[in-house]
Symmetry: C2
Subunit: 279 residues, 2 copies
């Protein structure tokens, strides 16, 4: 395993390049990106050693990391499996059911390992690439029993070299949990930003009044539109179900506050406080 | 100004005691707390030098900081103004209109300075007290033209000694902005915790899947029930108005995702991204 190809040089792809360069035995990093600006910048930042077209890169590759938005990844995974010989392909997307279904009956299905590193920031593009993004974070391997056992072991070792903890889930189970534990956080944060920006035309007021609390809850509202639209769309049913639960809880609060029933409000807060036991 | 009295030895009162001990000219810190456990703990932690009853503490005081939940503060402010001679009283609550109305016609109104340090964490009680909580944070002084100018100056200097930036607002204007920039963040976070905890009975899944994003948006859900119920109740009209805006934005997202209209979803995200320009 000498040549690693990274397709998509954004936050996750770029961070993988940056940190694998230190910890892995890959000797050469090849970047592929449909944005010429991103490709150039990734080269300038030293994230990759060269930029090639997809076909050239795959020809030269030993290991391929697909780090593009999930809607594109779903199609590209099949296209790449079609043309590779013995290479291993992994994806790093935030949804898993769609890509796993897309490659399900492929003759080279066992060369594909589906992974989701539970790591990220609100920033995007090559400049968002961070060393150590994956340290102490979980990486979920999905439906890994359908992948070649040696390839799975290689991928596990690769992530462990970055300090990640490996967990295993079924693809559909992953997508339900991710909707609850990750995707709804982004929607709540986007909606919070819209609410405050629509109201507070006086930008100085926001900056002045923004304590750590608001900064923390609104942080994810800076996240990338292409990445997140694709996730919401691919995980639509689960995301809509969580949104309904979430709206219901907001409305429970609203009625409790409106009715002036302080005991109900306190009980809701106490129930929410239980998150202390988990995090 | 020798003896500072701090009523309420929780996150804010305790942190003020801890940091004023370093930066101010107060020589002696007297604590008052209706929880004997909190009082004892504050003494053990060295936040205050002695614990007294409210009456004893006020007798001995030069300067009084009221750091109790806003519903209690509203009544106590009047009671304290009734019995003080020439001392200065400040509050540090997250709502301002109610307490300012309560003291409005008091003969000693000018001895009261209404302040809101825009600082905090999700923790509570004396053990949550932090050095430097107020450093680089804004402190809003409300309706300060109704307070004695020398006392206002003293309070400003006190907060500046902690590294805070002083801002001025009208009480009612403060409460509208605080609902948007602070109070709704707490509700969105409480509702997020409820949503996830209700669904994910498998606690290990939450811990495993919780990336930095979820941790960040759910952090405030650990906040204290008494503090926050009182704030929502006192700022009810503004909080309900913001909640309606917030629910509307969540529903806009829901419809856009449900209809599969990716351009609308991306536009909403792009509008939310504007928060980058503010924070």
């Amino acid at each position: 395993m000498k040549n690693a190809v990274i397709i998509g040089l954004g936050l996750i792809g770029g961070s993988l390049a940056k940190s694998l360069r230190k910890s892995s035995s890959f000797e050469h990093f090849i970047g592929v990106d449909n944005s010429a600006t991103h490709a150039k910048r990734a080269l300038e930042l030293g994230l990759v050693d060269e930029i090639l077209s997809l076909d050239e890169a795959i020809d030269k590759s030993d290991f391929i990391i697909l780090a593009v938005p999930v809607d594109i990844a779903q199609d590209m995974a099949v296209d790449i499996l079609d043309i590779i010989s013995n290479q291993t392909l992994i994806d790093v997307g935030s949804t898993k059911d769609a890509i796993l279904n897309a490659v399900k009956s492929h003759s080279k299905r066992n060369q594909f390992v589906a992974t989701h590193p539970m790591a990220g920031t609100e920033f995007s593009g090559p400049d968002a690439a961070i060393d150590d993004l994956f340290k102490d974070m979980a990486v979920i391997l999905c439906d890994s029993e359908n992948s070649d056992i040696e390839r799975v072991k290689f991928v596990e070792d690769m992530y462990r070299s970055l300090g990640s903890n490996i967990k295993y889930m079924l693809g559909d189970e992953h997508d339900v949990s991710a909707a609850y534990v990750s995707h709804i956080s982004h929607i709540s944060s986007f909606a919070l930003a819209l609410t405050v920006l629509n109201k507070e035309k006086n930008v100085e007021n926001i900056t002045t009044l923004a304590s750590g609390g608001f900064r923390s809850t609104v942080r994810l509202a800076k996240s990338n539109q292409d990445t997140w639209e694709a996730i919401f769309s691919q995980n639509k049913d689960n995301v809509l179900a969580v949104m309904d639960d979430y709206i219901e809880n907001i409305i429970l609060f609203k009625h409790a506050i409106k009715s002036g029933n302080s005991e109900v409000v306190k009980t809701l807060i106490r129930q929410a406080n239980e998150v202390k036991k988990v995090l």
